[in-house]
Subunit: 594 residues, 2 copies
């Protein structure tokens, strides 16, 4: 059994090492067009920022270490340029010597990853980089050091194009090095996969750290240390980093006549097999199944690449039958992907899973929304940090469709719990009954997750009715009365235009003051509003609670102030806020996060 693997980073190397553990006798050759295998690609921005000081920490394995431990034949600087499926061979070019050779295979694994496409107009002469390889960061750090001059005294400026997950990591790490950064985003908000009111606090964090955030903006031209933006303004730029999303690298597969899926990635079955049963594909180049829609999608994530690399090895071992001495590979069908993503930026953590409200609205799927603003742990224990949480729920089945969280400590925990609940098929209401570890430094007796479940349960049971921040203008236009049930002090510190203030604890006594007609109540985060809504509803009033309270409303208002394209409510407008640039058409970066 001779197995060739194209690509030696996450998916390819997972396939190679698992294959060896399943088949000591197999001949396994890994071709990597770059100079490094199995490097820490997710660590690259942090090396630029100096947080990872030791460059060798990025290099997790070498061809030598992989040879001695796994008896792998790893050939760096070798690019596979073609596949002859009939002959079961590939053409390989040694990128150092230029020599072309041919290698036969019994099984072939494609793990070549993704490519980027530049959105920069021709003729730009400002140095341009992506953040994808060790070579990239070597060049970026060399340029930053040179631009800073002797002693590092010269101010260095950079433009980062694309304010998605990778773009924000680039921004943070350039700032960490003292670089002045302009973040240019074609969409109406940073972090396009998030809903606008969840992304707004992230933009505020960026601005608070001196980042010049430009949404609804693209780059018109770049030369002589200046970048001209689509709004005609000029910003300084010693370099440009492009983080506009990635495209699956399907060149080899397409040239070989393998089926390309609807998503534009290489079609695979649930054992990672392409349309040629002897050829597998894994990682960013391979199509995934979206867990929410059941349809094809593209998600570029290291975790999925590793998982699918291992699955491909299992499938090869299985398909090889008894030719593998004692190999008990048990190929398990790949499960659909939820697309879990996280990013840290200046101490704030942003995480998401599944679909956004915008996407649900755009596809017309009936859903419920829950916003909460809990603390990561019990408020009476020192150091509690706030977070904002959004949960998307299927209106018919109560299934969890997605979540977004922005905050400090404990955000990563809650997104992982929700992702696990989704994988386990728990309903949103069932989150109220989850047993989670509680001591006051770690959580609350009613954990943020339980709280989400309580609200979802109340909505599902009809115990409470809510409306979203973007639905408020229509309610007010229809003559509904907005009642702010916070204290007079909270009201004075900032309120929603048109609201009347009747504090919750006075609501029973002052019930008679409320005007006739439908009511909308709100508090700071939604909890007192719920109590008020229950009270008023039992007293015979038609009432809805403004979901997430003043805090969510204010975030939505900030998003709209930054860009009218940040609207989430209108299905027709939803498409327009996808980060689709004329120069890079139809990148579904909504799902391309890493």
């Amino acid at each position: 059994m001779k197995i060739l693997i194209v690509g030696g980073v996450a998916g390819g190397m997972s396939a190679a090492t698992r294959m060896r553990r399943l088949d000591e006798a197999a001949e396994i050759i890994v071709f990597e067009r770059g100079h490094y295998v199995s490097f820490a690609n997710c660590g690259l921005p942090y090396y630029v920022g100096g947080l990872i000081e030791d460059r060798s920490a990025l290099l997790l394995q070498t061809p030598e270490s992989l040879a001695s431990r796994f008896r792998l034949d790893v050939r760096i600087d070798h690019e596979v340029t073609g596949i002859d499926r009939a002959a079961r061979t590939v053409s390989v070019r040694d990128t150092v010597t230029g020599r072309i050779s041919t290698e036969g295979y019994d099984r072939l694994v494609l793990a070549a990853g993704a490519t980027t496409r530049s959105v920069l107009p021709a003729g730009s002469d400002v140095p341009l980089y992506t953040l994808r390889t060790v070579d990239d960061v070597d060049r970026i750090t060399a340029l930053l050091t040179e631009a800073a001059g002797p002693g590092g005294t010269v101010e260095v400026s950079a433009v980062v194009i694309g304010a998605g997950f990778i773009g924000l990591e680039a921004v943070e790490n350039l700032v960490r090095r003292g670089v002045h950064v302009t973040a240019v985003e074609f969409a109406g908000q940073v972090l396009g996969p998030l809903d606008p009111e969840m992304a707004a606090p992230v933009a505020a964090v960026l601005k608070a750290h001196g980042v010049d955030v430009r949404v609804d903006t693209s780059v018109r031209s770049a030369s002589a240390g200046r970048v001209t933006l689509s709004d005609g303004t000029d910003v300084a730029a010693d370099l440009i980093i492009e983080a506009t999303g990635v495209l699956p690298d399907t060149s080899l597969a397409a040239a070989a006549g393998l089926r390309i899926g609807e998503s534009g990635a290489i079609w695979v079955d649930d054992t990672q097999r392409t349309s040629d049963p002897l050829i597998y594909a894994v990682g960013d180049g391979a199509e995934k199944v979206d867990a929410i829609s059941g349809g094809p999608t593209r998600i570029a994530m290291a975790g999925l690449a590793n998982r699918h690399g291992r699955a491909a090895a299992d499938s090869i071992a299985d398909s090889a039958g008894d030719s593998l001495a004692g190999a008990p590979g048990v190929a398990v069908a790949a499960e659909p992907a939820f697309g879990v993503a996280i990013v840290g930026v200046f101490g704030t953590t942003v995480a998401m899973v599944g679909w956004s409200e915008r996407r649900l609205l755009a596809t017309g799927r009936a859903h419920r929304v829950v916003h909460t603003h809990p603390s990561d742990h019990a408020g009476y224990y020192p150091g509690a940090e706030p977070m904002s949480v959004k949960l998307l729920v299927d209106a018919a089945t109560d299934a969890i469709l997605g979540a977004q969280i922005v905050g400090g400590h404990g955000v990563d925990k809650r997104i992982d719990v929700i992702a696990t609940a989704m994988a386990g098929g728990l309903t949103a209401s069932a989150l109220s009954r989850l047993e989670l570890a509680y001591a006051p430094q770690y959580g609350s007796a009613k954990d943020p997750i339980n709280q989400l479940g309580y609200v979802a349960d109340n909505l599902a049971a009809g115990t409470t009715r809510s409306l979203q921040w973007h639905e408020l203008p229509a309610a007010l236009a229809a003559g509904e009365t907005l009642v702010d049930v916070r204290t007079a002090g909270e009201f004075a510190a900032g309120s929603i235009p048109g609201a009347v203030n009747v504090p919750l604890d006075e609501l029973r006594d002052r019930f008679g003051e409320l005007p006739a007609g439908s009511l909308v109540v709100h508090c700071q985060v939604g909890q007192r509003g719920h109590t008020a809504a229950r009270l008023l509803s039992q007293l015979g009033r038609e009432v809805r609670n403004l979901d997430g309270g003043y805090k969510t409303w204010a975030a939505g208002a900030a998003a709209l102030a930054a860009s009218p394209r940040a609207a989430v409510a209108s299905a027709s407008s939803a498409a327009s806020v996808l980060p689709v640039s004329p120069a890079a058409p139809a990148l579904p970066t909504e799902r391309i996060v890493a």
Copy 2:
């Protein structure tokens, strides 16, 4: 509808406030025998330690705040002394005036919590406290201040009886105040619910912080500032804190002829109803259903108390039918409880869920065990902290039966993910396919959870075979050869007696050196051992991998060195290591954790 609630802390107050939100018209009276309601009982130790400085932070609600917001009639210093089920009344004693009164009910909720029983012999005159009420901590802090003398210069000593979850919180916070602490534990290890090799690192942490840890020990007598232990030694003690576990307070229920369950707690159905359909019970006094066995159990947890308090209110609203104006209470059947617990001690976090290996062995349930020692996040990113993880898996179904984790950052996240996976019915192997949020500061592309799944999957598929640290002596006695595949340097720094050292990367070349017969391989944490086992097995050798490697073996050896009763392997010995003291018979503190 008139609803009386006995007990005004977690479960009782959750029932009361939910009841109000469901029924604005109901008359709701809460009787609390203490002076405080809705206080932060899980914060009490941290107030003793001074970490929570503001005493008022412990008092989350007052009778006044509950009256104005929820129109609750909260009567503190009122003890319910009897129930007349036929007359539907309770007798209430005002503990300040001594006055007895009678109050009628339509529904009654028992949320009186738990009691403690002292294990201290009669005649002891050292001040003795528990850590359960605001009064307790007021008295403890007053005594500590007085004992420390003017300027706090006198060394204060304390004995904490019981080294379970609450006992360790007491220990940590006394040390935080500069108190010298002796921790006295009747069982052979600290944290009895854990398996001994998982508890051993916790004992080491305690000792490193100056705590005098005495296992296999009880208190014989106490007088004149000295405590005499069962081994005859004498230790100084200005005070004693008893944390020997709690018993459900069933006195009212039993006197009223309500059914008491097998576990010793008040029997309830899956809507928290007792054997009298007008009386409900929630919280530490009420029986739970064990999610692993399906049988009755006792678990004293604030989260369950809150959940069940809310469930009781929902059930009352449902049972009242249309007498509640518009109340849409949807009673959901209570789900079995897993018993998730966590404790922080000197910066180390210890968490568990479900059953231990010891308990599985004692009940004869066929299972698999996985030990891993991952880092909380990618090793190439600064600040990664190690943790030790143990997973218990049903041998027949691959269901997750329990987990234990000890470490630094990220322990709370992983126990919550596992608890959620258990609630969602995910198999252990499915953990390998969980999508979890990955950026290098939060996790790994192969998260510790995924790694557990990989090992579990390899065991389930038969790809690898393992043995536990406590099974090693029998294997060696049977003539199996132990091969340490770590490097020569690691071997020299500490090795398992009888092991021969053949580093993994030399194993193919030195294969011929291995003696005939069955082999056991091991590395530091289990991962290289797995690769070695796969290699040797494919080369025709009978081989098992020592689960968790040298690290788990060393922890087990430390546990056995501290106490021969720390053995986990023998079913017959398992009962003897339960923390059952002659003075406090048959406390199943194995499940009584908070």
